[in-house]
Amino acid sequence: MQFMLLFSRQGKLRLQKWYVPLSDKEKKKITRELVQTVLARKPKMCSFLEWRDLKIVYKRLYASLYFCCAIEDQDNELITLEIIHRYVELLDKYFGSVCELDIIFNFEKAYFILDEFLLGGEVQETSKKNVLKAIEQADLLQEVSKQFFD
């Protein structure tokens, strides 16, 4: 995977994960163009589209949040669709029925969960249990440290 973007129906970026080195300027340009392209898609259209020399796989959550991945030509788009689904499941499990606000106010958790699931653009751990265990460990440590240091 080259990058993953989460954005709202208004085009506001909620999460951006880049797996290839790009300048800030390039990132902004890609984001602007791609967001526009995806938002212009009609509801019944295919989840896959060709954009520049990449394949874009996207999914819409609760009609208000778009999950968008860019993969290379030889990558398997069907399994990428399921990567998105799995990530949503992880967020859902952690936040309890995830919505856009969760991702806004707990953005760092969204990144941490993503890093347990994918790393360097590749699938790392597909067990829901293991991913969430790792995240919850951090939360526990926080609780513990609060007791002692506050």
Binding site: K12, L13, R14, Q16, Y19, P21, K44, M45, C46, S47, F48, E50, N76, E77, L78, I79, L81, E82, I83, H85, R86, F95, G96, S97, V98, C99, L101, D102, I104, F105, N106, F107, E108, K109, Y111, F112, D115, L119, G120, G121, E122, V123, Q124, E125, T126, S127, K128, K129, N130, A134, Q137, A138, D139, L141, Q142, E143, S145, K146, F149, D150
Partner: protein, 855 residues
């Protein structure tokens, strides 16, 4: 859903309010004002005299990050973030790492500090700290990090005491470094140990390792070639596991789909395994995947089918990849087809792949790729239906037309291009070449020259198609008119010996000269979409998907018109044929009978075709072998060709039998078949029409009830008529009903057996045959065949334990015939002696004949 976070408590709420304010700002200006206020606040806190405690630092760094992600530029905070790295509190470290991964800074001093912090965390032996550090390296992947850590990571990866979670992060971290700075990651002793990670019991480790190996082996294939057999074993274990085995790694009833896809991708980096055992396991694996894909789904959820299909696509990619290496014996189809689920030899496997590809295509560009690959690899075996179909699909789907044009254009670049590719390419560029004409590399003239370079190598039919493409080009791209007209005008075209080519050249030349651009455009208008038939495979797939199930299929599809090409043919259900009377079907005995005059009963369907050419002169070729296979078994494929597959499931009891004949259409315009059975007088064959299966017309089933009146030697015939390509087609087959189907096994003791054996000692009661074994003389297989034949297998009767002894009774309405048999194998000579003794000469002879052909 809650906007409040679990675990950080009160402070977050306060922060949340401020952030909410920013979020809720009505105008951009108001938002910026609010943000700037906050930034100023944070800046002052950072610069303040009081040293901030870790917790506050974390809070403000987090806010800065949030503001950055909102879209505002941040130019401070890096130092504070880097400071957080050296905290020994996990969450503070975490925020620090997140900040520097997102806001990558190229200040060399900062880089030095960051790398230092990472180094400490990697050496800390604390797995959670190590993972944080590894994630950061993987996220940033800068050259400086590669320089600092590229030699350390492999060591961590293969060290015996590394925790699983660290191993999996280390693998992908190393992968990232390799991708950005391959020169800094030298191969070494660690490579063989990385391969062994494929055997790790932790699936996450395996998942990460496969990605790493896949990338590394591309430039260093020898270092990793041992991965092939391990990958095959792993894949085999996954594919054959029950859904409970892999527990949390099972995704909607599909075991480890991501890992399976990755393993299949890895295998595509190497040629097919040479070791027979490994190859065998892999073939089994692929067959399992292909078979599972055809089973009814375990779950209605789209995630299940997506995961299953993703694996299927990758498996097919692997099969296509392997074809390059396996050289087929001359005359046989390419080996890729040998890896498909076992068909009888008569089936053209290319068609199977094409049907599978269409059936499972969720994404039509994949389908186009697959068919074009098929043409590229197995061009000779690609029949017309296959490439007609891909063109039909491209024409009917707006969203794949550009992709198809681009793909055929690229495929045509190959110096030695199969003629079928030229046909498909010529047609598609003629219709959709304009979609790629904007790119100078595929400009109209380039496209024309590319096609024309193949012209003289092609057959007449292909050249005719290309000429049509040329006139379409003149219409689409006026700038090519001059060039193309020159070609049309040349002697080789307008004076071509072939009438068709000459005519086309002359007419197109004239058309291009005299027709105005409007007229030309109308004449050469884009091909309208082919109407989809109600009973097409696509309709079946559409129905299965149902509403709202991500109906990708509906995209870009133009509205089909109601009329079908060539008129509507009745399906079995709509024809509502009254079932033919029993008398009708009792009279013909000769196997080579043509169907002759239509029967006199009120069979509507037959009447419809009563003036059509009557039945075949003989049986369909190649059916004898299949028929013989049915002697000892009741289910299987009776006949298969490009257009039809006929399967039979049968059941027999005493002198009655029921055959379910399933007729599946391949594709093409075949209408639903009609059929009737002709039986020898001794068999009473009644046909009972059954509703076509719910999946819409691609398969029809007919039930035949059989009553055995007397012993018989000739098999009843099945005649199938159907329309294909506008003409009436006819196939006659022998139904797999042989007299041994009514054989009832009879157990008896050795004395009884020998008593009866002596009683049947008249010469006409015995039939004997000595013959060479045509199959391996395996004892278990032989026993199974005898049982399948219908005989009882009697133990401890024959003094020679290698011999087989059997007994049974043939049940017919008129009489019952007791039968005894003895099969003596001679392994040395690879021969058998078979003796049959029954009370009726014809039965002895016939059974002997039938049975001897089974061994």
């Amino acid at each position: 859903c809650h906007g409040l976070e679990q675990g950080t408590g009160v402070e977050r709420r306060g922060e949340g309010v401020e952030l909410e304010e920013a979020e809720g700002c009505k105008s951009k200006e108001a938002e910026i004002k609010r943000i700037n206020k906050e930034l100023a606040n944070i800046r002052s806190k950072f610069k303040g005299d009081k040293a901030l405690d870790g917790y506050s630092k974390k809070k403000y760094v987090c806010k800065l990050l949030f503001i950055f992600l909102l879209g505002h530029d941040i130019d401070f905070g890096h130092m504070e973030a880097v400071n957080l790295l050296s905290s020994n509190k996990y969450t503070e470290k975490q925020i620090g790492y997140l900040f520097i991964s997102v806001l990558v800074n190229s200040n060399s001093e900062l880089i030095r500090l960051i790398n230092n912090a990472i180094k400490n965390d990697l050496a800390s032996r604390n797995p959670t700290f190590m993972c944080l550090a590894l994630h950061c390296i993987a996220n940033v992947g800068s050259r400086e990090m590669a320089e600092a850590f590229a030699s350390e990571i492999p060591r961590i990866l293969v060290a015996g005491d590394t925790m699983d979670s660290v191993k999996q992060s280390a693998a992908l971290c190393l992968l990232r470094l390799y991708k950005t700075s391959p020169d800094l990651v030298p191969m070494g002793e660690w490579t063989s140990r990385v391969v062994h990670l494929l055997n790790d019991q932790h699936m996450g480790v395996v998942t990460a390792a496969v990605s790493l190996i896949t990338c590394l082996c591309k430039k260093n294939p020898d270092d990793f070639k041992t991965c092939v057999s391990l990958a095959v074993s792993r894949l085999s274990r996954i594919v054959s596991s029950a859904s409970t085995d892999l527990q949390d790694y099972t995704y909607y009833f599909v075991p480890a789909p991501w890992l399976s896809v990755k393993l299949l991708r890895l295998l595509q980096c190497y040629p097919p395994p040479e070791d027979a055992a490994v190859k065998g396991r892999l073939v089994e694996c692929l067959e399992t995947i292909l078979n599972k894909a055809q089973e009814p789904p375990k779950s209605k959820k789209v995630q299940h089918s997506n995961a299953k299909n993703a694996i299927l696509f990758e498996a097919i990619s692997l099969i296509i990849h392997y074809d390059r290496w396996v050289t087929p014996p001359s005359g046989a189809p390419p080996a890729l087809l040998l890896l498909l689920p076992p068909p009888p030899p008569s089936a053209p496997p290319v068609l199977k792949v094409a049907i599978l590809a269409e059936k499972y295509a969720v994404d039509y560009s994949w389908y186009v790729d697959t068919i074009l690959n098929l043409i590229r690899i197995a061009g000779d075996y690609v029949s017309e239906e296959v490439w007609y179909r891909v063109i039909q699909i491209v024409i009917n789907r707006d969203d794949v037309q550009g992709y198809a044009a681009k793909t055929v254009f690229e495929a045509l670049q190959a110096p030695a291009c199969h003629e079928n590719m030229v046909k498909v390419g010529g047609y598609i560029l003629g219709e959709f070449g304009n979609l790629i004409a904007g790119d100078p590399r595929s400009s109209p003239l380039v496209q024309f020259n590319l096609l024309h370079s193949k012209f003289h190598l092609c057959s007449v039919a292909t050249r005719a198609l290309l000429l049509s493409t040329y006139i379409k080009f003149i219409n689409l791209f006026p700038e090519t008119k001059g060039t193309i007209q020159e070609v049309l005008r040349s002697d080789s075209q307008i004076r071509n010996a072939d009438v068709e080519l000459q005519q086309r050249a002359v007419e197109y030349l004239k058309l291009s000269s005299i027709a105005s651009t409007d007229v030309l455009a109308t004449v050469l208008e884009e091909m309208p979409p082919f109407p989809e038939r109600e009973s097409s495979i696509l309709a079946k797939l559409k129905k299965k998907k149902g509403p709202g199930a991500g109906s990708e299929l509906d995209d870009g599809k133009k509205d089909p018109n109601a009329e079908m090409n060539g008129g509507v043919e009745p399906t079995a259900s709509t024809a509502s044929t009254p079932s033919p009377s029993a008398d009708l079907l009792g009279l013909r005995a000769a196997p080579s009978a043509s169907s002759g005059a239509p029967p006199s009963s009120g069979n509507l369907l037959v009447d419809v075709f009563s003036d059509s050419p009557s039945g075949t002169a003989g049986l369909a070729p190649g059916t004898e072998e299949n028929f013989l296979r049915f002697v000892c078994k009741n289910n299987g494929v009776l006949f298969e060709n490009q257009l039809l597959q006929i399967g039979v499931k049968s059941e027999f009891r005493q002198n009655l039998g029921e055959l379910r004949v399933g007729i599946a259409r391949g594709w093409g315009e075949s209408s639903c078949p009609i059929h009737r059975g002709d039986g020898p007088g001794e068999l009473n064959v009644q046909t009972k029409a059954v509703e076509p299966l719910v999946e819409g017309g691609a398969q029809v089933q007919q039930v035949l009830n059989i009553e055995c009146l007397n012993d018989f030697t000739e098999a009843p015939l099945l005649n199938i008529k159907f329309r294909y390509g506008g003409t009436l087609q006819n196939i006659t087959l022998k139904l797999p009903v042989t007299v041994n189907k009514f054989f009832q096994a009879t157990e008896m003791q050795s004395q009884d057996f020998f008593q009866r054996w002596k009683q049947l000692s008249l010469p006409q009661q015995e039939a004997q045959k000595i013959f060479k074994a045509s199959h391996p003389m395996d004892s278990e297989v032989t026993k199974a065949k005898l049982l399948g034949f219908g005989s009882a297998l009697l133990e401890k009767v024959d003094p020679n334990p290698d011999n087989y002894v059997g007994a049974g009774i043939i049940q017919t309405k008129a009489l019952q015939v007791g039968c005894l048999l003895r099969l003596e194998p001679n392994a040395q000579a690879q021969m058998y002696r078979l003796t049959l003794r029954t009370s009726k000469e014809s039965v002895s002879k016939h059974l002997c004949e039938l049975l001897s052909q089974q061994f």
